[in-house]
Symmetry: C2
Subunit: 343 residues, 2 copies
Amino acid sequence: MTLKELSKVLGLSQTTVSRALNGYPEVSETTRSRVREAAERHAYRPNARAKGLATGRAMAIGHVIPQSIRHETVNPVFGDFIAGAGETYARSGYEMVLAFIEKDESEVYRTFKARGSVDGIVVHGPRLNDPRLRQLADIGLPFVVHGRSSGLDIPYSWLDVNNRSAFHRATRFLLDLGHRRIGLVNGLEEMDFAFRRRRGYEQALTEHGLPIDPALIAADEMTEFHGYRSARAMLALPDPPTAFLAASMICTLGVRRATDESGLVCSRDVSIVTFDDSLSYLQNGQDVPIYTATRSSVREAGRRTARMLIDRIQTPDTPHRQELLEAQLVVGLSTGPVPNRQG
Amino acid sequence: MTLKELSKVLGLSQTTVSRALNGYPEVSETTRSRVREAAERHAYRPNARAKGLATGRAMAIGHVIPQSIRHETVNPVFGDFIAGAGETYARSGYEMVLAFIEKDESEVYRTFKARGSVDGIVVHGPRLNDPRLRQLADIGLPFVVHGRSSGLDIPYSWLDVNNRSAFHRATRFLLDLGHRRIGLVNGLEEMDFAFRRRRGYEQALTEHGLPIDPALIAADEMTEFHGYRSARAMLALPDPPTAFLAASMICTLGVRRATDESGLVCSRDVSIVTFDDSLSYLQNGQDVPIYTATRSSVREAGRRTARMLIDRIQTPDTPHRQELLEAQLVVGLSTGPVPNRQG
DNA sequence: GTCGTCGTTGAAAGCGCTTTGGAAGACTGA
DNA sequence: TCAGTCTTCCAAAGCGCTTTCAACGACGAC
């Protein structure tokens, strides 16, 4: 059922039918409802490609997922993020197109733009001084970044968790409990979020007059194994940490495996604080949090990022917007005062 | 840069340029290379919508993700699956469009079909006698199912892991170690894969002449908490299990948390076997598997499912294809002979 | 009665591509 | 020389929609 057929059925012109369905005012209410009713009855759906060709808008938004540097790791938070974004898109009539790529990301952007497949892009996993953002700005494709890019001086829209303050708070929390040797199991520090988290951690230590020990900082892709290996290595140090700060629930599972293996009891012998993205399949306890955590829902971030991008697409000339979400500190069962080693 | 402009630059007609770029034979090699070179130089990319409108093909494939019944759980394996599928799409020039939906899935199918947004669909999470498959067949949209739907008698293409045999093997493995009380921490049994897994488990028990104890079977969404709660409940039974069979790594983490809490040492006091989807961010150990597992890469499944669908779209009249992947049993550190309770 | 205005509808152009149905030129063989 | 092939190219229609421009009737004002 096409517009043409539908208009023939109704004895109207395509123009009028199109106007009636798209809510233009120059159409009488009686014909409009007649048209609406007929469209409903014949299950008419405008062809997306034809509409896109005519309007110049794709009604689609692209998410470009780089195959990560090593291990072809699919970020476990990614599923929740796009689920949130997807909710917003669905409500606004947008489709979500995903591109998994291996090599040249800017090539994909250029192609998206030239082929007109999408109206805008969500940028994932920004790095320090990320070249992609400048490329996107040059290409002229609207975009919003999930995260930020330190060291980049062009204006752009972003939504980020305050990673620095989250890790600052978490570290201070451990310091207040008396911990002085705190292991940081971080993500790859070329990633902006990991860089900021480390800054928060270091800032808290410095404020307490404590030195920064490189042996207590491990950065890698946030897998379970990274958590395990890093924690185990730190626990083998002559002066091992009494607490760990982990960058994700997945990492934390590895840290926990290492501490368990060492026969340490969590919260008594060793404290663990994690960053919790509120993943739907990996909740931090039902009522009482298992782990003390700085928490921020990545799904909600997806919802809001999508909203920002749609707004940008619809009103491109408004100034760039930024949204900084504060993570919430929830105290769980994984932390306790520093153990008395001499005791 | 449009076809029109490019053809003007070259002093050729749109027809010839189009043919040259799309590899039609009626064009001399000299003009073809001239055209190719110019297209490259001007970074010409055909407009996807216009092309789609003219050809009737969208060069896009839809993945419809139902917001799960409860907890709005995003299946953690989903990310790896679509990453695999995405690889295949990228190589074949297809785009991937995702739809997250809350309510009527068949409505989305109909809309996809009517609007022509996609050429085919991958169906996720099939249930027993799933009505969606019949709907899709009626609508006439090519599709391939990741999984199967027991009790459905129409022909369709699918790719599935042999869940029954995987759990049959895993159960038998535990039985061979002397375990007689084996807890099954399953997914929701309205899901076809969970149903089949249970069948494999029960079949192995029955073959050994053992009864099936409903108290040792728990089915729910495959979260960490499900694993924890179910295992804890089973361990509190008068005659607790000496082994667990868990439906995913995520569940297993919960099971492990419960056994740890009970002071049980894994593989000595209690054995755990899991189903391992080879998730990139949650690997089952680096060299030696931590958990004994039946393993099958969901990413590889994504790659192959995508391939099947593309083939189906390109040659719709071929008979339906089915692909049954056998999971591999890997023996890890989480299993051992049944403990001697009296000892 | 005429004119301008308002409210409502339509014809047709155009979005950027593919593809049908020729057509021009080059080349054969008689 | 000419009819009959190929080879190589093109004009134009068409995909299904939006949107510009124009038209038409009704109406009130003069």
